[in-house]
């Protein structure tokens, strides 16, 4: 049996090294706690294909919101690269309202991310990696820069790493504040110095991405899972989960809860457990009215769904998404229409404007929601909102921004229609009650 593989009962691959979530783990402490062992083992004993195969077998899914199988994504990268270079991009442009998991990982254990990047880069034979970091994460930038220097000194980053012949450079690239940069292809455009509009697919980034070279984009949390899987094996990784989605996930609750925060929990944990056992339940004087499973871009759910298992499939089945897995509690003192107005103002502000449904549809929804909030809505407004939701759904727009933007609205109308109806002023004349399509010139023909 290999020295590196031994029976290890650890159940928290991301956070077990962090004591009480306080201090940052730098290289000495990280190495003392089995840090960079996975890298050493992989470079010495595993071929890049074997690393891909282990991650494939582990069924690790992307933690940035999409949930695509990471191993499958890696295997799309051409094995023989005729273009000279392959890129690995780390998506650290965390701007989803209600999400703070990547910041936590980068601030507390930056070397785990670096080791994840190194292993992933080795697997896809990338020679250059960029961490696309949100500009406002100043502390994360400082800590990552420091960690990169530390890792360079120990020869984990650079040329001929640990005499394996593997070379890699890691750079930090900070954005300048646009939510759309978190979208895979918009991120690539932004890095290239273009306006960050999403690209049409195909070609997929794995074939033609950054500077037309094969490129893989992975989220911070996804990459941070890789070292533990290599070190402990895919069977171990599967076993720490409670259900079909493997491994653990950073999950949490924010809003009017007693102890807002995040915890590393196995898939299959229910949202009620997170809310009551970890976040301490709602604050005194507040009751739970609704909740978001994973950021503002996921479908809002009522408290009747609290016993649902926090995983990709279960949430899809009830018309929502796991998203980033960090739940938001909406209390009984919040008006749903006003809340949705806040969300849609955000999405409308952040739309890149590249495709018409998103550019026109989101401001339209904002306008209607403003009217409903001010009790000046007209009969038919809710139906128009529903029509906008249909026209911005998956497949109707260039990227997943708009479907994410309207999914909370769609669910809110479904579950809290009464509150929307309360915003209608029945004294105002009826203009329309049905809209086909969202182009304004269509309205006259109805």
């Amino acid at each position: 049996m290999n020295n590196y593989f031994y029976k290890y009962e650890e159940t928290h691959p991301l956070t077990w090294r962090i004591k009480k979530f306080k201090k940052t783990i730098f290289i000495d402490e990280y190495e003392n706690k089995r840090g960079y062992l996975a890298l050493k083992f992989a470079l010495k004993n595993l071929s890049p294909d074997e690393v891909v195969s282990i991650i494939k077998k582990s069924k690790l899914k992307g933690r940035g919101g999409g949930g695509f199988l990471t191993g499958e994504k890696w295997s799309l990268i051409p094995k023989k690269n005729y273009f000279g270079k392959t890129y690995l991009l780390c998506n650290a442009d965390e701007m989803e309202p209600g999400t703070y998991k990547d910041r936590f990982l980068m601030e507390k254990i930056p070397h785990l991310l670096l080791e994840g990047i190194l292993l992933s880069a080795y697997a896809i034979q990338a020679s250059c990696s960029y961490i696309f970091l949100r500009e406002e994460y100043f502390l994360s930038k400082f800590l990552l820069e420091k960690s990169i220097l530390e890792a360079k000194e120990k020869r984990y980053i650079g040329k001929n790493i640990l005499n394996s012949g593997f070379n890699i450079e890691i750079f930090i690239h900070t954005g300048a504040g646009r939510y759309i940069c978190g979208e895979e292809t918009a991120l690539i455009n932004s890095l290239e110095g273009k306006r960050p509009n999403p690209r049409s697919k195909p070609p997929f980034p794995s074939q033609s991405g950054l500077w037309n070279k094969p490129t893989c984009v992975n989220n911070v949390e996804t990459l941070s899972n890789v070292p533990a899987i290599i070190l402990n094996g895919y069977k171990w990784y599967k076993n720490i989960s409670k259900n079909n989605d493997t491994g653990t996930k950073l999950m949490g609750f924010s809003g009017k809860v007693k102890k807002p925060g995040l915890w590393e929990l196995p898939f299959g944990t229910t949202s009620r457990e997170i809310l009551e056992d970890y976040a301490g339940g709602m604050k005194d004087g507040y009751n739970l009215k609704a909740w978001f499973p994973g950021g503002a871009g996921t479908g809002i759910l009522t408290k009747h769904y609290l016993d649902i298992s926090m995983d990709f499939n279960s949430l899809n089945l009830v018309g929502s998404r796991l998203g980033t897995g960090i739940c938001i509690a909406v209390d009984n003192k919040i008006n749903i229409v006003s809340l949705l107005l806040n969300i849609e103002i955000f999405f409308s502000r952040e739309s890149c404007g590249w495709c018409t449904p998103c550019r026109e549809g989101l401001p339209w929804s904002v306008k209607i929601l403003k009217d409903l909030k001010n009790k000046k809505g007209r009969i038919g407004d809710i139906e128009i909102l529903e029509e906008i939701c249909k026209n911005l759904s998956i497949g109707k727009t260039f990227c997943a921004f708009a479907p994410g933007a309207i999914s909370p609205l769609y669910n809110a109308i479904k579950y809290f229609r009464k509150e929307f109806e309360n915003g209608i002023d029945f004294n105002l004349p009826i203009i329309k009650n049905k809209v086909f399509g969202i182009q304004s010139n269509n309205l006259n023909n109805i």
């Binding site: 949100r134 646009r178 938001i328």
Partner: protein, 154 residues
């Protein structure tokens, strides 16, 4: 005017990327740190250094919300208007700051000391409501603490 230090920084950044367009954002941010905002003159100077047309630099500068195309105050106050801060009452904080400084969102005080702007979720929801002043993040803000912070900034 772009100084030698900035020019050196921009040229050094070029080594990180395959094309010079990729340094536009970093160059704009670096120069903005000293000048406060990005004028057309600044852009044409950057354009000369990295050999990218001014129009292209402008198209980038106008896209991102943290590149300022008008003069701003010495201190930039960014209040998070994300959904969690909404639930936790960011509006009260924003209104208090606005009243204290006598400016609306997007405006700068007469003495050029403060500019108030909104920002996407700052990833600090477990300590919401939250504001950022320049590079400093302030957590669990109340109306009182917001005013105290503003008064402590010289």
């Amino acid at each position: 005017m772009i100084n030698d230090k900035e020019k050196k920084f921009i040229l050094k950044e070029l080594n990180k990327y395959e094309n010079s367009d990729a340094v536009i954002v970093e160059s704009l941010k670096f120069v903005q740190k000293r000048l406060g905002w990005i004028s057309l003159d600044t852009m044409s100077e950057i354009s000369k250094i990295i050999s990218v047309p001014v129009s292209k630099i402008e198209s980038i500068a106008t896209f991102y919300n943290q590149i300022f195309r008008k003069p701003v105050g010495k201190n930039i106050i960014k209040y998070c208007d994300g959904v969690v801060c909404y639930i936790n009452g960011y509006k009260k904080i924003k209104n208090a700051i606005s009243k204290h400084l006598n400016i609306n969102t997007g405006c700068t005080t007469k003495d050029n000391k403060f500019t108030l702007i909104p920002i996407c979720c700052l990833g600090n929801c477990d300590n919401s409501p939250t504001i950022m002043i320049n590079e400093n993040l302030f957590s669990n803000i109340t109306v009182k603490s917001a005013i105290n912070i503003l008064e402590s900034i010289k």
